[in-house]
């Protein structure tokens, strides 16, 4: 294939990232590049720092040290002409965040808005679209997650799986360059995880760049083309799923996999 001739550019670059809450170091010295169009699963035991890492990527958590670059543009800080680092303006940070979608474990739909209004809100507020156009786009994305018939329903009337699909539509409608999933199926009943995983699988096929924190080893193995195993805030294993699941080099990764795969 031509992949070797044209190596895919890193759309997201994480460099020497650290995050501490008080004295407790959650992430220590994490660096990796994520190529455009790749689907990266981040796995690890609870408390390993996976969710914190994901939340640092769109600056919901401010890193203690290190840098994140989206398409080469630094996230959350600017380098002045004299080389000094200064915190970025809220407006700039917002503009960068709008390019990184996030899907949460708890869906976080806004209960006072219908499904369609949930999707249209940021199109109006952030992209400055008119109501009619935002509503048209919102319905397109609801159709994409097979929920057009629920456009006028309030979240309370939707099942967990439906709510999460609306949340995915809400993130997608902004046409993000990267989509982050923070344990998107963990609070769903087992019979509802399938419909959400199916939507994620479809997005992966369409070439969406995705970073997925997950407990679904099946998804990590079958859908992603790269798996990162995190242990106590350090990347212990990083490679294609066949390698991480088939012949992991790290002892801790082997232990983790045998405990979750049984």
């Amino acid at each position: 294939m031509s992949a070797a001739a044209h190596p895919p550019a890193a759309i997201l670059r994480v460099s020497k990232l650290r995050k501490a809450f008080g004295y407790h170091e959650v992430l220590r010295d994490i660096s990796f590049d994520i190529a455009a169009g790749s689907v990266v699963s981040i796995i690890g035991a609870s408390g390993s720092g996976k969710s914190t890492l994901l939340r640092c990527l769109n600056y919901l958590e401010e890193p203690t040290a290190g840098e994140i670059y989206l398409n080469g543009e630094p996230m959350g800080f600017r380098v002045k002409s004299d080389g000094k680092r200064v915190a970025d303006s809220a407006a700039n940070l917002g503009r960068m965040r709008a390019q990184i979608g996030m899907v949460f474990q708890q869906f976080n739909l806004w209960p006072h808005m219908t499904a369609e209004q949930n999707v249209a809100e940021a199109l109006i507020q952030v992209k400055g679209l008119g109501k009619a156009e935002a509503s048209k786009i919102a319905r397109e994305y609801l159709a994409k997650v097979n929920l057009l018939e629920k456009a006028d329903a309030y979240p309370a009337r939707l099942s967990g799986g439906q709510q999460q699909r609306v949340a995915i539509a809400r993130a997608l409608a902004m046409e993000p360059k990267v989509l982050l999933f923070d344990e998107a199926t963990s609070s769903l009943d087992p019979e509802l995880t399938g419909e959400v995983l199916e939507v994620m699988r479809q997005l992966a096929l369409e070439g969406m760049t995705m970073v997925v924190v997950t407990h679904e080893m099946g998804f990590a193995r079958e859908v992603s083309n790269r798996v990162i195993f995190l242990h106590q805030g350090v990347v212990e294993e990083d490679g294609p799923p066949e390698q991480v699941f088939g012949r992991p080099t790290s002892e801790r990764c082997r232990q983790f996999l045998s405990s979750v795969l049984g």
């Binding site: 917002g94 390019q99 976080n108 739909l109 806004w110 006072h112 329903a153 309030y154 993130a171």
Partner: protein
Amino acid sequence: MSETLRQSLDLSLFWEFRYTLLAGLAQNLYVFACAAVLALALALIVGLARLSANRAVRAVSTVYAELFRNTPEFVLIIWVYYVLPILLSRMLATKFNMSPFLAAVLALGVAYSGFLSETVRAGVQSIPRGHSEAGLSLGMTRFQILRRIIIPQAVRRMLPEALSQFVSLFKATSIVSLIAVPDIMYQVSMINVDQMRPLPLYTGAALLFCLVIIAATQLIQILSDRWRKRGWA
């Protein structure tokens, strides 16, 4: 005994002076409306300030809320009417006149902003953080999130609590006659000076307050039921 009871319930005198008394009630409603708007505006500012990340802003707003929550309206209204003008006159070195109406609105507005700011704070705090994070992750600004996501939800949650605060505020307007605002209690005592029949007059005033509050509460109940039917939490 039964004669006393008959007298208190004989509201014909009350009816005779209905226009004066209604004019008095209108004053109560007017003071209430102005004080309620002032209280709500101040409560929104103070309630949000109490959740500020800035420690000084938090401290000042906490002192404000505690100060006015814990001062009796009775004392406050007298203080604003008699003491505040003197203070202001000295500070500004000009003669400063305070009308009874303005003093009543200021005192009650400030007093109830203390209570209501707690309601605002609790309402805003009850909205899950995830709702803000969802907004942030889509690129919305803090102000947009406050205006579009937090406040609309918080208002609905605050409604029952705020309603009972407003009922108290309306009841508290019955003390403004203290500084000679011509409200219903003022009119009742004026008529009483003339007619010497306190029983029907004060009983009538009590019933009237009760009636107005029950009617208003029912109306709001109907409105909020209608909201709930539209699917709002």
